[in-house]
Amino acid sequence: MTIENPHVEKETQLWVGPQHPGVTGNMAIQVWLTGDTIQRGITHVGYLHRGFEKLMERRKFIQSFPIVCRICVPEPDTNEYLLAASIEELGGITIPEKAVWLRTLVLEMSRLASLVQQIGGGAGATGLGAVPNWTYTLRDYILDSFEELTGGRVYHMYMVYGGVRRDLPVGFAERMEATLRKIEERLPYIDKVTFQSSVWRERTQGVGLTDPAWVKEMGISGPAIRAMGFARDVRRDFPYLAYPELDFSVITSTGGDIYARMEIRRHEVVESIKIIRQVLQKMPKDGPVAAPIPNVFTWRIPTGQTYVRAEASRGEMGYYTVTDGSDKVRRVHVRGASYVHGFAMAERMFEGLNIADLHPTLVSIPTCPPEMER
C-alpha cells in the first residue's frame, strides 16, 4: 500500500551503502526516489576490487589457487573447482575417480552452506532476527566439517589441479550426517516464521518481481531464473564431476518474486542434503586423491582457451581461461553468477520498487559484490 502524497513530487537521491547494514556486502546502490518509490537505481561496486585477474597473470598456475577462493567469500570452492577444471582441460590432466567425488562433495557442501546463509539473509532482511541466528549457526556446523576435511574454515584451498589435497578424515561421513540432520531438524522452524507465516508472505509475495521476458535478453541463472519457471541448472544441463551419477531434482517455482526465490533455496537445501548423502555413500573408499602433477614451479601449458562453468548457489559461474605456452595464465575472466543479477537485472528491478523492499530484493536475487568486481 503506497501512501499518495501530493507534495512529494521532488526526486530525492539516496545512497544505500557501502556503509550500510543492509547491502549484501561492501557495495552501494544509488537510487533516485519519489516519495518512497524508487524511480531508478544504479549499482556501484569496486569497494572490494582486488584485481584478481591481474594477480593471476602474475602467478604460476598452482599459486593462483589460494587466491581464487577469495573471489566469493561464502562459496569459495566453486572458484577453486573452476580454475582447476580449466587448467586441467588446457593442460591435459585427468583426475582420479576419488578426487571427482571429493570435489563434488566439497562443491555441494559449499552450496549448502551458502544456501543456508542466504535463507537467513533473506529472512533477516525482512526483519526476522531469529532465522539468521539459526542459519549462521547451521552454516557454522558445515564450516566445522569443512575445517575437518580441508583444514580451513572459510577459505579451504582444498582443490588444486590434479585433484584434491587430502583424503577424507576417519569418521567424516558420520559427523557430516549429524550436521545434515541438524539442518533438517531446523528447517520446519524456519518454515514456520517465513514460508508459512502470512505476515512474511505478505511482505515477500509479489515483491521484487522479475519478468520472464528478461530471460531471452540476459544471462540470468540460478534461483533467479528457476523462480520464473525455467528449470535451468548447470549441474543438469552441462554435467560435470559426479553430478550425472547423482539423483537430484531441479527446483522451479513460478512467482518470480522474493518469496519464490527464497522458496527455491529452501527446497534446494533439501536437495543438497540429499546429494551430500549420496556422495558420501557412493564415493570410492580408496584410491589416490590426486593425479601426479607436473613440477609446480616450471609447468607450462600450451596455448589455448576454454570456458568452464559450474552451478554456484547464486547461479552459473564460469571461468574463461587463456593460456599462452608460459608457466602462468594469459588471462582469466571470472564470470560471476551475480554479475548479470547485480547490474543489468537489479537495475531493472529497482524501477518502481519500494525503498523498504530494496534490501530483501537484493538478498533474494542474490548479489555477491566480490564476484561482480573480483
Partner: protein, 599 residues
C-alpha cells in the same frame, strides 16, 4: 491469509525449551580440527634451506634468512614467515622436500604492534613448536618424488656382453626428469667442481641442449665421463633425496652430452688469451690433467700433456670398465683437447730426468699422476699365484682390449669357467667382479668386511652387480689364503661383528674368534684401495712435494712445495673420485695464471 499461517510463527516457541547453540564462555577457545592450518612450525635441523617454500609462496610471505653456515646439503638459510602476508594455504608445507615445514593448529595471535608478526619457525621459539596437530606434509606432496626410470640391459644377459649397460634417457624422458628439478642449487655445493647444475637441468627441460652442454663445460671438460660414472655427490644432497629419489643429475648430463657427436662445434668458449707465450707441462692424462690442459689451452697457453699409457683418460680409462664408459665417449673428450690445441704425448712416462727438463722448459708443471699402486690385502698367502690386485687386473684388461700395447700378456687373468673372489667393497671391487663375470667367470663372489650399507661403492653399482648374479658376502674378514691340493685357492675368512665406534664414524668390524669359513676359488682379486706411487720422481723432489706416504700437499692455488710445480687429482685429495680431480684441476687453472702474474 489463513489463521494457521498467521499462527505459524508462534510455533517456534517450542525452541525455547531446546538446548541453546551457544558455546559456553569457558569453552569459547575451542580446539580446532586436527588438520587446521595455523602458525608455522619447522624442524630447523631437518630443514635444508632449499627455498622451495619461498618460491611457491604467491604472497612473497617467506624470506630465506641466514641462520647458520652453509654446508654441503644445507644452504644455512631458514624460512622466515611474514604473517602480514601469509594466507595459510600450506602450499609451502606440501612442497617442502625435506618435510620439515608444517602448520600447527594454533590460531590466536593478537597484538597491538604490527611489527611482531614475523618469525623464523623452529628457530624463534614459539608455544606451538611442539604441536603435533595441524597440517603436515607426507600425505600428499606437490612435488614428484619418483625418478623417471632408466632403461638398462636386462640383468640376466648383460653378464655375457661388453655392451653399455645403461641405455640412456630418450628426449621425452630426459625432459620429464629435468622437469622434476626444484632449482634450489643445493647440489652445486656438494659437487666438488660446483657445476652449474640447476642451470643446465633447466636448459635440458626447455630443450635447449646446446646451452646445456655449454653450461656443463663451464666447469667440467669430461662431462660425458661424469654423465656415466660420476660418484654424483650432488644426488646425495638433492632436495628430493630427503623423501624420495633424487633428480637423476648424472643421467641428465649424460643425455645432454650424448646429444652431440662432436662437441667441438657446440662449445663456445669466450676467454681472454692471457696465456699466449706461456708453456705448461701436464703430467698424467687423467681427469685433473685433462682439466688443466683444456682450460689452459683455450686461454692461449701452450700445453704439453704427457701420458704413460697409450691412451688418455687415466683411471677413467683403465679403471672404469667399458660397459660403463665406452671408448668412443672417452675419445670424444680427448678430441676436445686436440681441438683446443693441447699437444698430447702418449706412451711417454715421465722420469726424474724428464721431470727436471720439463721444469726448466715450461713456466709451470702440473702433476696429476693419480694413484697407480694397488694396496695389498696384508693377509698370509697373498703372494700365491692366482691372487692379483684389482688395479693390475683392470689395467691389463683394458690395455689388452682397447690398445695395441705390447706390454701386456695376451692371456687374461680370469678365464672362462673360473670361480672368482673379489675382496673389497669399493667401486673398484664391483668393477673387478663385473669384468670377471664378463670374462666368463662361472661364479663371482664379493667379500667385504662390513655391512652392505657401509660399502663405499655406488648403490646403483651394487644393485647392478646383484642383478648380474654376483654374490656379495658381507661381514667377512679375510684371514689367510691357502692353496688347495688341486691348484685352487682357499680364501679363509672369519665372520665379523659390527661394533659401534666413536660417534660419527662408521661402525667397526670386529672378528668373531674361532670361526673359520672357506671359500674355494680359482682367482682372488684384492680391491681394498689404492695408494700413491711417486717413485718416478727423484728422492729430493719427492721429499719437497710429498709427505712420507707419497701424498702431495698443495696450497690454495694447487701449488706444491716446489715453486712452479702444481698438483691435483687423487694424489692430492685422496678421494679416488674423478669429479674431485676435475675440481683440483680447476683450482690449478686459476692458480697457474695467478702464480705467473697473468691476472
Amino acid at each position: 491469509m489463513s489463521l494457521k499461517n498467521a499462527l505459524a510463527p508462534f510455533g517456534i516457541w517450542a525452541r525455547a525449551l531446546a538446548r541453546p547453540y551457544t558455546i559456553p564462555v569457558e569453552d569459547i577457545m575451542r580446539a580446532p580440527a586436527d588438520r587446521y592450518r595455523g602458525w608455522h612450525t619447522n624442524d630447523a635441523e631437518a630443514c635444508i634451506g632449499c627455498g622451495s617454500c619461498s618460491d611457491i609462496c604467491q604472497n612473497a610471505a617467506i624470506d630465506m634468512v641466514v641462520n647458520r653456515d652453509a654446508t654441503k646439503g644445507d644452504t644455512g638459510l631458514r624460512p622466515m614467515v611474514d604473517y602480514g602476508r601469509c594466507c595459510w594455504c600450506a602450499l609451502c608445507v606440501d612442497v617442502c622436500p625435506s618435510g620439515s615445514l608444517g602448520l600447527s593448529s594454533e590460531y590466536t595471535w593478537v597484538d597491538k604492534d604490527p611489527e611482531v608478526f614475523r618469525y623464523v619457525p623452529g628457530v624463534d621459539k614459539k608455544p606451538w613448536d611442539d604441536d603435533t596437530k595441524g597440517w603436515h606434509g607426507g600425505e600428499w606432496d606437490l612435488i614428484n618424488h619418483d625418478r623417471v626410470p632408466m632403461s638398462m640391459l636386462p640383468g640376466e644377459t648383460r653378464g655375457q656382453t661388453w655392451a653399455e649397460v645403461v641405455l640412456g634417457y630418450s628426449e621425452e624422458e630426459a625432459q620429464r626428469e629435468a622437469a622434476r628439478c626444484l632449482e634450489c642449487g643445493i647440489c652445486t655445493a656438494a659437487c666438488p667442481a660446483h657445476m652449474h647444475i640447476p642451470e643446465y637441468i633447466g636448459a635440458i627441460r626447455d630443450g635447449n641442449y646446446e646451452q646445456a652442454v655449454n653450461l656443463i663445460y663451464e666447469t667440467n671438460p669430461m662431462p660425458e665421463m661424469c654423465g656415466k660414472v660420476c660418484t654424483r655427490r650432488c644426488e646425495d644432497v638433492c632436495a628430493h633425496a630427503k623423501q624420495g629419489e633424487p633428480v637423476a643429475i648424472r643421467w641428465l648430463k649424460r643425455f645432454a652430452t650424448e646429444r652431440f657427436d662432436d662437441l667441438r662445434e657446440v662449445i663456445k668458449a669466450d676467454v681472454a688469451p692471457i696465456g699466449v707465450g706461456k708453456r705448461v707441462a701436464v703430467i698424467g692424462g687423467g681427469p685433473s690433467g685433462i682439466t688443466v690442459a683444456y682450460y689452459l689451452a683455450i686461454r692461449g697457453f701452450e700445453v704439453n700433456l704427457y701420458e704413460a699409457l697409450p691412451t688418455l683418460g687415466g683411471a677413467t680409462f683403465f679403471g672404469i670398465p667399458k660397459y660403463r664408459f665406452p671408448m668412443p665417449s672417452l675419445e670424444k673428450q680427448v678430441d676436445m683437447l686436440r681441438g683446443a690445441g693441447v699437444k698430447l704425448h702418449v706412451n711417454s712416462p715421465v722420469d726424474a730426468a724428464l721431470f727436471e727438463e720439463l721444469r726448466s722448459t715450461h713456466d709451470a708443471v702440473f702433476i696429476g699422476a693419480g694413484l697407480m699402486r694397488g694396496k695389498a690385502m696384508r693377509v698370509e698367502g697373498e703372494d700365491a699365484p692366482g691372487v692379483v690386485n684389482a688395479l693390475t687386473f683392470l689395467l691389463e684388461h683394458h690395455l689388452r682390449n682397447n690398445t695395441d700395447s705390447d706390454k701386456v700378456s695376451k692371456e687374461p687373468v680370469v678365464l672362462p669357467g673360473m670361480k672368482v673372489a673379489v675382496v673389497g667393497g669399493g667401486n673398484t671391487a664391483i668393477d673387478a667382479a663385473r669384468v670377471s663375470l664378463r670374462l666368463g667367470a662361472s661364479e663371482v663372489v664379493i667379500s667385504y668386511r662390513r655391512r652392505k650399507e657401509d660399502m663405499p661403492a655406488d648403490w646403483e653399482e651394487i644393485e647392478d652387480a646383484e642383478h648380474e648374479n654376483i654374490q656379495i658376502d658381507v661381514q667377512a674378514i679375510p684371514l689367510r689364503i691357502e692353496q688347495t691340493p688341486d691348484g685352487r685357492l682357499d680364501l679363509i675368512w672369519g665372520p665379523a661383528e659390527m661394533v659401534a665406534d666413536k660417534p660419527g664414524a662408521r661402525p667397526k668390524p670386529v672378528l668373531v674368534e674361532g670361526v673359520e669359513n672357506h671359500l674355494v676359488v680359482d682367482r682372488i682379486i684384492g680391491a681394498i684401495g689404492q695408494g700413491p706411487n711417486l717413485r718416478w720422481l727423484s728422492p729430493e723432489a719427492q721429499g719437497t712435494i710429498a709427505d712420507k706416504w707419497g701424498w702431495i700437499k698443495v696450497n690454495e692455488d694447487g701449488m706444491t712445495g716446489m715453486p712452479g710445480v702444481f698438483a691435483g687429482g687423487d694424489l692430492v685429495n685422496e678421494t679416488a673420485d674423478a669429479i674431485s680431480a676435475i675440481a683440483d684441476g680447476l683450482r690449478v687453472v686459476q692458480g697457474i695464471p695467478r702464480w705467473l702474474g697473468l691476472q
